[in-house]
Each structure stands twice: as structure tokens, then as C-alpha cells.
């Protein structure tokens, strides 16, 4: 059996390019086809990354015999129907975050993959960041003591063109939300990964700046099952992009996790700063691509070894469950219990 996985990408946007670059860092897979509604974009990526086949519909990928799995990099709302098409045709699926725009859709995807014994992975590449891996070690080994609080901060600039020049962003039925489901979801996923499930949440959201249907600003407070608290502050309408961070406070210490760094604030007042791009002697962009490579390699190995990927459909739904609860909380002005589906 060929030890290299043969995958295809559905979608040829900005995000698909990052995936293609990540593939270059993974040793065990090839992208053998790419589809995009606007085929010119697909051709451009195909040329740049030497992808042999270009088609204009994901359905064409679904019927290609050589394709073992499909990576879905499309507007959020399309994740669910395209994943179901792929699974139906016996293809493994790696889907971009969010896994879907509703937990109902996500559950259907999970059931379908399970029924067909196919691998369903979710593309939360930041789980593979050096900073996340170190944070996980530190927390699990008790370096922070008892965990008290997770603070998620997302302050990004998405100016007018980001929405006005997009056919799907800012639209409720296509993007399914904005600041939370598109941007904050990364750090929300990390908080759940590092600390555990959430029992209850309430939040507030609105579009304060952009003329969109979805939210450009949101806040929430929540309680983890283990008793720790969490807060989310997300804005994609600030001109001062202060970036994204997850700070976890424990009784003995705190860590501030960013994509390419981790700062450890120790109980004795000392501070340890790790700059992973610097340590590896690469740019922070390159560092980001390393995480893509790790995720892609894990997914390909899961296919080859017939095992679950590091981030399963169920695991990859947890962030969406919390975000969906925040949307409902904001709409109904009520506190929401969060029922995380457990891996069976």
C-alpha cells in the first residue's frame, strides 16, 4: 500500500493557499487535485503548487478514484453539504474550522463519517503550535497549580473590503457569524483543549462598526466543568490590531499563549519568555505553516493507520458548541448550558 495519502482540496481561497503550503511541510501526502467554483483561482494554485488536476466542482473530486480524502476550505455554510457529499463517495474528510455553522450539521457529519468508517478531522491547526504543545505540558504537569481563569482576547482589523468584497463573509446564512465563529474560534478551541469542557455561558454580540448581518464585536463569560472561569473579548473592527491571545491563570502561575510565543509568569514574580519563531530561526509566517504541516501529517497518518485523527469531528465541534451557545444567549438574553458531545 502506498504510504503517502492522496488528498484533494475543495476551495482555492486564501486559506487553501496556507493548506497547500502546509502540505509542503508534511512528508506523507500529496495533493492530487483541487476544485473551485471560479476555476481560474484553482488553476493559479495548481500551477504554484504543482497540483496535477483542476476541476470546477467538489463533486468532480468526489468521483475521482485516486482521491482518498478531501480537505474542505470553503465558506462555512458549505462545510456541511460538501462534507456529506465527500463521505457519501467514500472519501475521508478534513474540514476547515468551524466544522459547520450549526452543531446539528456537525453531528450529522460525525454520524455519517462514523457509519462509513471514514476519518473526519477538523482543521484547528493552532493545536499544533509550539506554544500550544508547551502550554499543554505545563498545565498537565501542574506548573500553573489549580486553574482559575482563561482570558481570550481577539483584537483584529478587518476593514470594509474584507466584507464588501466577499460574497459570503458578514452574511448570516453563509459565514454563520463573524468575530466569534471565524476569528475567536481558534483561541476558544485552544482554551477548551487545554482546560476542558464548559458547563455554562452567557454573552453579548453585535455589529457595532461594519454594515453586516453578523457580529464584529462580542464578549462572553463562561464556567468550565472543573470550576475555572473564562472570558472572551473579540473585536474585528479595531484599527489597532493588538492581536489574539489566550491567557491562563492558575494559583501558581500564568501563561500568555500567542501563535508564536509563550510567556510564563511565575508565582515568584519571574517571567520566562519563549519566542518559537526566533528559536527556530524562521519567520512567524513560516512557523504558522509548520503547524499546518503537523496537522496535515497527522490526518494523513490517521487515514493510513486506520485511527482517529488528533482532532476528531467530536473534538472539533466543542468550540462551535460554545460559540453557538453564545449566539443563542445573546439572542435570548439568557444563560445557556453547554452540552458537549463526548467522544463515544
Amino acid at each position: 500500500m502506498d504510504s503517502r495519502a492522496r488528498l484533494a482540496i475543495a476551495g482555492a481561497g486564501w486559506s487553501a493557499r496556507n493548506i497547500a503550503r502546509g502540505v509542503e511541510k508534511a512528508a506523507n501526502l500529496d495533493i492530487i487535485a483541487i476544485s473551485n467554483h471560479d476555476i481560474v483561482k484553482a488553476r493559479n494554485l495548481a500551477r504554484e503548487f504543482s497540483i496535477p488536476t483542476t476541476v470546477d466542482s467538489h463533486l468532480d473530486l468526489c468521483v475521482m478514484k485516486d482521491v482518498e480524502g478531501i480537505i474542505i476550505s470553503l465558506p462555512h455554510r458549505l462545510h456541511h453539504p460538501v462534507a456529506l457529499d465527500a463521505l457519501e463517495h467514500g472519501k475521508h474528510v478534513l474540514v476547515e474550522k468551524p466544522i459547520a455553522t450549526s452543531t446539528n450539521d456537525a453531528r450529522e457529519m460525525i454520524q455519517e463519517a462514523s457509519r462509513r468508517n471514514l476519518v473526519l478531522g477538523v482543521y484547528h491547526q493552532n493545536r499544533f503550535n509550539d506554544s500550544t504543545l508547551l502550554a499543554k505540558q505545563m498545565i498537565d504537569s501542574g506548573k500553573l497549580g489549580k486553574l482559575l481563569l482563561a482570558k481570550i482576547e481577539v483584537y483584529l482589523k478587518r476593514d470594509g473590503g474584507y466584507f464588501t468584497e466577499s460574497k459570503w463573509r458578514g452574511r448570516l446564512n453563509m459565514e454563520g457569524g463573524s468575530a466569534l465563529i471565524n476569528q475567536a474560534i481558534h483561541d476558544i478551541d485552544l482554551a477548551l483543549h487545554l482546560i476542558g469542557d464548559v458547563d455554562l455561558v452567557a454573552g453579548f454580540q453585535s455589529h457595532l462598526m461594519h454594515d453586516i448581518e453578523t457580529e464584529d464585536n462580542a464578549v462572553a463569560a463562561f464556567k468550565f466543568t472543573n470550576g475555572a472561569f473564562g472570558t472572551i473579548q473579540a473585536s474585528i473592527s479595531v484599527k489597532t490590531p493588538m492581536g489574539t491571545s489566550l491567557t491562563i491563570h492558575g494559583t501558581r502561575g500564568a501563561i500568555e499563549i500567542r501563535k508564536d510565543s509563550l510567556i510564563f509568569f511565575k508565582g515568584d514574580g519571574n517571567i520566562d519568555r519563549r519566542d518559537f519563531a526566533g528559536e527556530r530561526g524562521i519567520s512567524s509566517k513560516e512557523l504558522k505553516i509548520l503547524s499546518h504541516g503537523r496537522l496535515l501529517q497527522d490526518f494523513s497518518n490517521a487515514i493510513k493507520e486506520g485511527r482517529a485523527p488528533a482532532i476528531t469531528g467530536t473534538d472539533g465541534t466543542r468550540a462551535l458548541e460554545l460559540i453557538e451557545s453564545i449566539y443563542t444567549s445573546a439572542r435570548k438574553s439568557t444563560v445557556m448550558g453547554v452540552n458537549h458531545a463526548r467522544a463515544s
Binding site: 452567557a202 464585536n217 438574553s333
Partner: protein
């Protein structure tokens, strides 16, 4: 040096002689025409100690002796939070203007009664939120009111500190609902919460969580909340006295055109180009601001401005800058967090 002279003589009485009172007494000594003529504390030795430097004629273990004395123009109340209401009401009923420590009270209805009584009796009620007089806060107010941050989108208060078990166990009042009225939020974080409502506006709806995560106390050593202001902006807060990796207390305000951060008397301005400007007013004033770990050094400059404003409010018969209504806003936020308790969204 800012003028520290009153237009006419005023006589202050002081109730409570703890560490905070010591700072206030030191401030009184720097103001011309202001004298501390009476002081009371249940611990008479503490009262005597402060009185010694002030030529105070009344030193008592009963606060009523201070309120009853005819020569006293106003009383400063620096006692456990839970006693603010009772002593303020007594002082007002005996015709004294009142400057009470933060928080104004532990219950909203108590605070409202204090405010109503002062108004009816035409007496001044001031609350000791001296941080409003920090240059950092005043400059922030100018920036926001001048539109420099654009539309205000979000605010965050973060006070992640540590207090050891002794702090609660050896105190006769901390850690209890009746006397402290809360923990990390009402005591440690109330200043930045006050600054936040001063700078951004009133909070409309709030969801909050609190817990005593590590200390054997009734009240909170950990809180978190998310909320929306009347003007539509959003906010979050986190407070604790349970983490040994203490961070500076920070208020951050995010606008569409820029952001500011206030840490004590240090103002950091993040402009739209991503540039960061740090103005350290504490250093400018010769390091008169201590850290929260060393409250004895808390800005005597801001204390002085606060005291001058309150005394001038009496002399000029106007409202003090931080009157009861102004101070009620932060208490409303605090109480909403405690009442929400992870169960409901509170409308303030």
C-alpha cells in the same frame, strides 16, 4: 505644586484609623486651613497614634463622639465596608458632610438611602475614589471625550492579584459578606471598575460568575463577567486574589480608532497606526504612586486633589466630583456580578 489652601477653615473628623485613614490623615496635614480635630476608632491606640500628629482634641473609641462634636464640619469614614451605611447615616443625621471610603456601601439600597438623606439635608456626600484624580484617568477622559479613540467598542478590567490566607483570617472583617461585602471585586478591583464606568458609561446588562476558589472565605477570590454598556459597547472583567503570578491591575478601553490602557497612574495609548505611547505620570510626579502591593504609597497627590475637591464642594456649596450617585455606578456593577452568580443575566 498645586494649590493646597482652602478659602476658609474647615475641621475634619475621622472615623476609622486603619492604613487607609493614615494616608488620608497625612493628606490633611498638607492642606492649609484644614485640620483634623477629632478621631475615633474601636482600637483607641490606633486613633491615638494618628491623633498625635494632628493636635486632635477628640480621641475616642466611639464614632458618635466625632459626629456629635459641633466643631466638626465633615467626617471621613474609613471603616470596614459593611459599616459605611450605618455611620454615614448617623453623621448625616447629625448635620455632618461625609467623605466615605470606597465602596460607597455594600448594598445598593443602603447607598441610595445615603444619597437621598444627604440631598434632603443639603449635605455633601463624597466617596473616596481618588483614582479619578490620577492624571492618567483625567487624560484618558479627555482623549475619549475628544473622540481620539473613535467609537468606544469594548472595555476590560483585569485585577489578577494575590492575598494570602492571613490577609483574610487575621482581619476581623475581610472575607465576610456582612463587613467586606465581597472580596476581590468589591475591594481590590473597585477602583478600575469605577474608572471604567466613569470613562465609558453605565452598564446596562451583565452576566457574572464568582467563587472562593482557594481561600476559606464567604466571598469571592475569583470573578469573571461579561456585560453591555448603555451606549452599546461591550465589557468584560476578571478579578482574583488567588493567583501568585500577580499582574498589574489594568483597565483597557478599545475604540474603533485606538485603545488605551490605565495601570495606576500610567497611561498607555495605542494609536491606529499600531504605535504605542506610554505616559508614566507616577514617575513625573516623583513616584508618588505605589503599587497595590504597597498601598501605603498610593498616590498622595490624588488623595490631595480628592480632599481639595471635597472641601471646596462644601465651601462653594456644589457637588463633589465623586458624589454618591457617581460612586453608586461601580457598586451596581459589583452587586450585579454577585447576584448574577452564573444563573441569570442582570439588568442594572
Amino acid at each position: 505644586m498645586e494649590s493646597r489652601k482652602l478659602a476658609r477653615n474647615l475641621k475634619a473628623g475621622m472615623i476609622g484609623a486603619g492604613s487607609s485613614a493614615t494616608n488620608i490623615a497625612a493628606t490633611i496635614a498638607t492642606i492649609e486651613n484644614l485640620s483634623l480635630v477629632a478621631i475615633a476608632d474601636k482600637n483607641i491606640d490606633a486613633a491615638k497614634k494618628i491623633a498625635a500628629g494632628h493636635d486632635s482634641k477628640i480621641v475616642s473609641d466611639d464614632y458618635k463622639d466625632v459626629c456629635d462634636d459641633e466643631s466638626v464640619d465633615f467626617v471621613i469614614i474609613s471603616v470596614p465596608h459593611g459599616l459605611h451605611h450605618e455611620i454615614t447615616m448617623y453623621a448625616l443625621k447629625h448635620g455632618k458632610h461625609v467623605l466615605v471610603e470606597k465602596p460607597i456601601a455594600t448594598k445598593i439600597e443602603d447607598a441610595e438611602e445615603m444619597i437621598d438623606t444627604a440631598r434632603k439635608k443639603n449635605l455633601k456626600l463624597g466617596v473616596h475614589f481618588q483614582c479619578r484624580f490620577f492624571d492618567a484617568v483625567q487624560e484618558a477622559k479627555k482623549l475619549i471625550d475628544g473622540g481620539k479613540l473613535g467609537k468606544i467598542l469594548q472595555a476590560n478590567v483585569s485585577v489578577m492579584w494575590y492575598r494570602d490566607d492571613d490577609y483574610y483570617q487575621k482581619s476581623g472583617w475581610r472575607g465576610t459578606w456582612v463587613l467586606e461585602g465581597g472580596g476581590s471585586l468589591i475591594n481590590q478591583a473597585i477602583h478600575p471598575v469605577d474608572e471604567m464606568v466613569h470613562l465609558v458609561g453605565s452598564v446596562k446588562t451583565l452576566f457574572g460568575l464568582w467563587d472562593h476558589a482557594i481561600h476559606d472565605i464567604e466571598v469571592d477570590d475569583l470573578t469573571a463577567a461579561a456585560f453591555q454598556f448603555e451606549n452599546g459597547a461591550f465589557g468584560t472583567l476578571q478579578t482574583s486574589t488567588a493567583t501568585k503570578a500577580a499582574f498589574p491591575a489594568k483597565l483597557t478601553i478599545f475604540g474603533s480608532e485606538g485603545a488605551i490602557q490605565i495601570d495606576g497612574n500610567i497611561l498607555t495609548i495605542h494609536d491606529a497606526d499600531g504605535k504605542e505611547k506610554v505616559i508614566d505620570y507616577a514617575a513625573k510626579h516623583g513616584g508618588q504612586v505605589g503599587s497595590a502591593k504597597d498601598p501605603s504609597k498610593f498616590s498622595l497627590l490624588a488623595h490631595g486633589r480628592m480632599m481639595m475637591d471635597f472641601c471646596n464642594a462644601i465651601i462653594e456649596d456644589r457637588e463633589p466630583v465623586v458624589n454618591g450617585e457617581a460612586a453608586l455606578e461601580s457598586l451596581k456593577v459589583v452587586r450585579a456580578v454577585y447576584e448574577s452568580n452564573g444563573e441569570k443575566i442582570i439588568t442594572l
